[in-house]
C-alpha cells in the first residue's frame, strides 16, 4: 500500500489540495518525443527511400521529392535523420532503463538493509560516479566492440549509480515510517516490503531521474558517434552525420544543421519531460517556466498551496531540493 501524505494533510487542514496539472514543460517534452517516435516508426516501417542507397543527386536541396534534401552520396536526408533519431531514442531510453533497473535494485537494497551493506554499495557507487561516462563508453567500445548494444550496456552501467543514490535517500526515510514498520511487524518478508511498500513510494524521483539520464545519454551517444566510436557506418547517426558532413558545411549547411537540431530536440525533449515531471511530482521546486512567478515571489511570501506535499521522496541525483 502507498501512503499519500497529501490526503492525510488535506483531512487535517479540512481542505483538498489544489489539483495539480502536468505543465507545459511535460507536454512539450512528451509531444516532441511522441512526434519523433511516430516519424521514426513510420520511416522504419514504410521508408519512402532506402536509407542506405542513393535515391537522387548528391547534395540536392530540399524539394517535394526529398523533403530535407540529399547527402553527399545522394541518400535521402529525411529518411536517414528519422532513423538516426530512432537509434538515438532507443539508445537513450534503453540505457536509462538499464541504469534504472540496476541502480534501483542496489539503491533499494542499500537503503532498506542499511549497515555495512549500505556502506559497501554506496562506496562502490561513489567510485563509479567518479568515472567520466564518455571514457567508460570508449573503453567498453574497445573491449567488446562498437555499436548500439555495447553503448547501451556501457551507459546503462555508468548511469546506474546515480539511480542507486536517488533511490537510497527516500528509502532510508521511508524505512522508519509506520506503514513499513507495521508491515515488517506483521511478518511480511523483506523482499515484499521492498517491492510492495517501498518501491511504489519512490517511483516519482525514479521517473525524473530516468528522463534526465536519457537526455544525457543522447548527448554522449552523439559525442561518441561524432568520434566514430558509437553507431557504425552506414547506419545513420546524428553525431556521425555532423562529423562526416562538416567538410560540406559551406556547400550544403543543412547537412550539419539538421542532425544538430535532432540532437538538440531529443536532448531538450527528455529534459523538458524531466522538468515537467519534477514540477508535477515535486511542486515545491520552481516550475521550468517561472519567469513571471519568480518576479512575483520576490516581493511576497511563497504561495502556500504549493508547499503542502511531501518532498522527501522527490530528490533527484542532479538537483537535490
Amino acid at each position: 500500500m502507498t501512503v499519500t501524505r497529501e490526503l492525510a494533510l488535506a483531512k487535517v487542514t479540512g481542505s483538498r489540495p489544489a489539483r495539480r496539472r502536468l505543465g507545459p514543460a511535460f507536454w512539450s517534452g512528451a509531444s516532441i518525443l511522441g512526434i519523433i517516435l511516430i516519424v521514426a516508426g513510420w520511416m522504419s516501417l514504410w521508408p519512402p527511400y532506402d536509407p542506405f542507397v542513393a535515391s537522387g543527386p548528391a547534395f540536392a536541396p530540399p524539394s517535394l521529392e526529398h523533403l530535407l534534401g540529399t547527402d553527399n552520396l545522394g541518400r535521402d536526408t529525411f529518411t536517414r535523420l528519422a532513423l538516426a533519431a530512432r537509434t538515438s531514442l532507443i539508445i537513450s531510453g534503453a540505457a536509462a532503463l538499464l541504469g534504472a533497473v540496476i541502480g534501483t535494485f542496489f539503491g533499494l537494497v542499500a537503503g532498506y538493509v542499511g549497515g555495512w551493506v549500505d556502506s559497501v554499495i554506496m562506496r562502490v557507487v561513489d567510485a563509479i560516479l567518479a568515472l567520466p561516462a564518455i571514457l567508460v563508453a570508449l573503453v567498453v567500445g574497445v573491449v567488446i566492440g562498437n555499436g548500439p548494444w555495447p553503448l547501451i550496456l556501457a551507459l546503462g552501467l555508468v548511469f546506474a549509480p546515480g539511480f542507486a543514490r536517488v533511490m537510497r535517500a527516500p528509502v532510508i526515510a521511508l524505512r522508519e515510517r509506520d506503514f513499513v514498520l507495521a508491515a515488517t511487524l506483521s511478518g511480511v518478508r523483506p523482499t515484499r516490503v521492498i517491492i510492495e511498500h517501498l518501491l511504489p513510494n519512490v517511483l516519482t524521483p525514479l521517473f525524473v531521474q530516468f528522463a534526465s539520464v536519457a537526455s544525457q545519454v543522447v548527448l554522449i551517444e552523439a559525442a561518441l558517434s561524432y568520434l566514430g566510436q558509437g553507431v557504425q557506418a552506414p547506419e545513420p547517426s546524428a553525431g556521425r552525420m555532423i562529423s562526416e558532413f562538416t567538410r560540406f558545411m559551406q556547400m550544403q549547411p543543412l547537412l550539419i544543421i539538421l542532425p544538430s537540431l535532432v540532437i538538440i530536440l531529443l536532448s531538450a525533449a527528455w529534459n523538458l519531460l524531466a522538468d515537467g515531471m519534477q514540477d508535477y511530482l515535486a511542486p515545491r521546486r520552481e516550475p521550468a517556466f517561472s519567469l513571471g512567478r519568480r518576479a512575483q515571489r520576490r516581493g511576497g511570501e511563497p504561495t502556500p498551496d504549493r508547499t503542502t506535499t511531501s518532498t522527501q521522496h522527490t530528490r533527484t541525483e542532479k538537483r537535490p531540493s
Binding site: A54, A58, L73, G74, L227, G228, A233, R247
Partner: protein
C-alpha cells in the same frame, strides 16, 4: 534565467552574428593579374593539415609525408625528375652506366651545405651508406653492394645484381636526400629531427611543435637566389579550420588532403593546382582465413565494385580509377585492361556460386578518426557489394589501432584499408605486400601469390627501362588476376591551393615537393 542573463545571451548572439558577417566576405580574388617583375623578400604563410611525426624531419629516418615535403625543400637529391618523369640533373651533373652492375655520377663542385661545409663525393657516400644501414626506404638499396668516392666529385655505385629501380629511386625527390657528413654526422638526434642543414633553397630554422615550421632562405644556395625570405608552414589539423583560414586570408597558400575542401577554396577565388593521383586508397587482404582465402570470392569482390562511380560520387571526382602502382605513377597500368576490374555483377555472382559462398560476409577495418574524405568510398563499396550478395561490414578503427591489425594480426579482419604513400618506383608499391618481411605481407607460402612474387623479383632486377616497364605491367595484371590487393581509387597526396594575387610564380608539381617555391615570390 533572469533578465540580465537573457540580455547577455542576446548580446552574445549579436556579436556572433556580427563576427560571422565580417568573416564571410574573404577570398574573392579572380585569379592572377599582371604581377609585374618579381620582388624579393616577404614571408609566405602556408597552411598544412599535418606536421612531421616520428623521426621529426631527420632526412634519413622520417617517413611521414609531411616530413618528406619539408625535407625535399631543405635537401637535394643527386638527380630529379620533371612532371613527365624525365630525369634531370640536380647535385649530380652527369650519370652513366658503364655496365649492368655499375653506376657513375659526376657531382657539382660549387655546392655548400647551409652550415658552410662543402659538398663532395664523401657526403654522397656517407648519405647512401647511412641510409642502406637502416634508414627509411633502406630496402630500395637492397641490391647495392658498395658506394665509393672515385674522385673528389665522382661517385661509383656497384650492385650485386642489375637494379631496375635505381634510376627511379635516385631521381625521386623525396627519397635519397644528400646530407653533410660533417654536419649531419656530428649532429645530435634532436638537432637532426628539428632542424635541417641541407643544400636546398630554404632551411628549417624553427619548429614549434603543433604550431608551425619556419624555413628561411639558404644564403649559400647553389641555384638562383630564391625570392622569399621566409616560409612558415602553419599547422591546421582540422581541415575545415584550414579552409576558413584560407578564405580569411590568414594563409596565402594551403595544402588539403580533402579534395572537396580544396574545391571550396577554389570556388572562393583561390587557384587550385592540378594534382597527380599518387596515393592509393589501398585495401589489404587477409588471405589466411575467412571467405577471402578463396580466389574466386576475391575476384567476385573486385568485379562487384564500380570504381568509376566510387570516384565520381563518393570522392566527388577528386580521385582516379587506379590499381598498383597508382594512377599518377609513370608505371600505372591501364585499368580498363586489367582482369576482374570492370564491373560485372552476373559474373561476380557466378564466381561466388562456384566458390560455394553465395553470400559471404566480409569485414573491413578503416581509420574512423582520420581521412574523413575517404569514408564515403567504403560506404559506397558496401552498397555496390550488396548488389552482388556480398555483405560488407564496416569497422571504424582509431588510427593508432589500425596498423597492429596487420603487424601483429591480433584482431584480424578480412580487409584493412590503409591509404598508401607514394613510392620512388613502381614495384615498391607491392614490395610490402609480397616480399618476405613486408609489413602487409600475409601471402608467404600462398600459391596464389607465387607468380606475382617471381615477377616482382624479376622486375627489380630488370636490366633496361623497357624490360622493367614490361615486367611491371605483367605484375599488375597478375596482381589483379589473383586479387592480391584491392584499390577502390587513387587520390593526390595533397591538393594545393594558393592566392595567385599574392603568391606569384608558383605551380605545384606532380611530386608534391613544392619545388617551385624556389622561384616563387610575393607581391609586396
Amino acid at each position: 534565467m533572469n533578465r540580465r542573463h537573457w540580455a547577455g545571451a542576446a548580446a552574445l548572439a549579436v556579436v556572433t552574428l556580427a563576427i560571422a558577417g565580417c568573416t564571410s566576405g574573404g577570398g574573392t580574388g579572380t585569379g592572377e593579374q599582371d604581377a609585374g617583375e618579381p620582388v624579393a623578400g616577404g614571408t609566405l604563410t602556408w597552411g598544412v593539415p599535418a606536421e612531421p611525426s616520428a623521426g621529426g624531419i631527420d632526412p634519413m629516418v622520417a617517413s611521414a609525408i609531411a616530413a618528406e615535403v619539408i625535407d625535399s625543400i631543405a635537401y637535394d637529391t643527386l638527380l630529379t625528375r620533371d612532371d613527365d618523369g624525365t630525369v634531370e640533373p640536380a647535385l649530380a651533373t652527369e650519370w652513366d652506366q658503364p655496365d649492368e652492375l655499375t653506376w657513375v655520377f659526376q657531382l657539382r663542385d660549387d655546392v655548400t651545405f647551409s652550415d658552410g661545409s662543402p659538398f663532395d663525393a664523401g657526403d654522397v657516400v656517407y648519405s647512401f651508406e647511412t641510409r642502406a644501414d637502416g634508414g627509411s626506404n633502406a630496402t630500395y638499396l637492397s641490391s647495392m653492394e658498395s658506394v665509393e668516392a672515385t674522385g673528389d666529385h665522382e661517385v661509383t655505385f656497384r650492385f650485386s645484381q642489375p637494379d631496375g629501380t635505381f634510376l627511379d629511386a635516385v631521381s625521386a625527390r623525396q627519397t635519397f636526400f644528400i646530407v653533410s657528413e660533417e654536419g649531419y654526422g656530428t649532429a645530435t638526434e634532436e638537432e637532426r629531427q628539428t632542424t635541417t642543414a641541407g643544400t636546398g633553397a630554404y632551411q628549417v630554422t624553427e619548429w614549434n611543435q603543433g604550431v608551425s615550421i619556419t624555413m628561411e632562405k639558404n644564403e649559400d644556395y647553389w641555384g638562383d637566389e630564391p625570392y622569399l625570405d621566409k616560409i612558415v608552414f602553419e599547422l591546421y589539423p582540422d581541415e575545415n579550420t584550414l579552409l576558413a583560414a584560407v578564405q580569411q586570408g590568414s594563409v596565402q597558400a594551403a595544402s588539403f588532403i580533402d579534395g572537396s575542401l580544396a574545391q571550396q577554396a577554389a570556388s572562393s577565388g583561390f587557384t587550385l593546382g592540378d594534382a597527380a593521383f599518387r596515393q592509393n586508397l589501398a585495401i589489404y587482404i587477409n588471405p589466411e582465413e575467412g571467405p577471402l582465402a578463396d580466389v574466386n570470392v576475391r575476384r567476385a569482390f573486385s568485379l562487384a565494385l564500380d570504381r568509376q562511380a566510387l570516384v565520381d560520387t563518393a570522392m566527388l571526382g577528386n580521385a582516379g580509377v587506379s590499381f598498383v602502382p597508382p594512377a599518377g605513377d609513370p608505371g600505372a597500368p591501364d585499368t580498363a585492361d586489367l582482369p576482374y576490374y570492370t564491373r560485372d555483377l552476373d559474373e561476380a555472382k557466378r564466381l561466388l556460386e562456384e566458390a560455394g559462398e553465395p553470400s559471404p560476409e566480409i569485414t573491413l577495418s578503416y581509420m574512423g578518426d582520420v581521412a574523413a574524405a575517404h569514408h564515403p568510398v567504403y560506404e559506397m563499396m558496401q552498397q555496390q557489394l550488396a548488389e552482388a550478395g556480398i555483405t560488407l561490414n564496416l569497422k571504424a578503427t582509431p588510427l593508432a589501432e589500425i596498423s597492429p591489425i596487420f603487424t601483429t594480426g591480433e584482431s584480424w579482419t578480412d580487409l584493412v584499408a590503409i591509404p598508401g604513400s607514394p613510392r620512388a618506383s613502381a614495384v615498391f608499391y607491392l614490395e610490402p605486400v609480397l616480399l618476405e618481411g613486408g609489413v602487409y605481407n600475409h601471402w608467404d607460402g600462398n600459391p596464389d601469390a607465387e607468380k606475382a612474387r617471381t615477377l616482382l623479383q624479376q622486375a627489380k632486377a630488370a636490366t633496361s627501362p623497357e624490360e622493367y616497364a614490361d615486367l611491371v605491367d605483367q605484375l599488375a595484371t597478375e596482381t589483379a588476376e589473383q586479387v592480391l590487393e584491392v584499390v577502390p581509387a587513387a587520390v593526390p597526396v595533397y591538393f594545393e591551393v594558393w592566392d595567385a594575387n599574392k603568391l606569384h610564380g608558383y605551380e605545384n608539381d606532380a611530386f608534391y615537393s613544392r619545388s617551385a617555391l624556389d622561384r616563387a615570390w610575393l607581391s609586396q
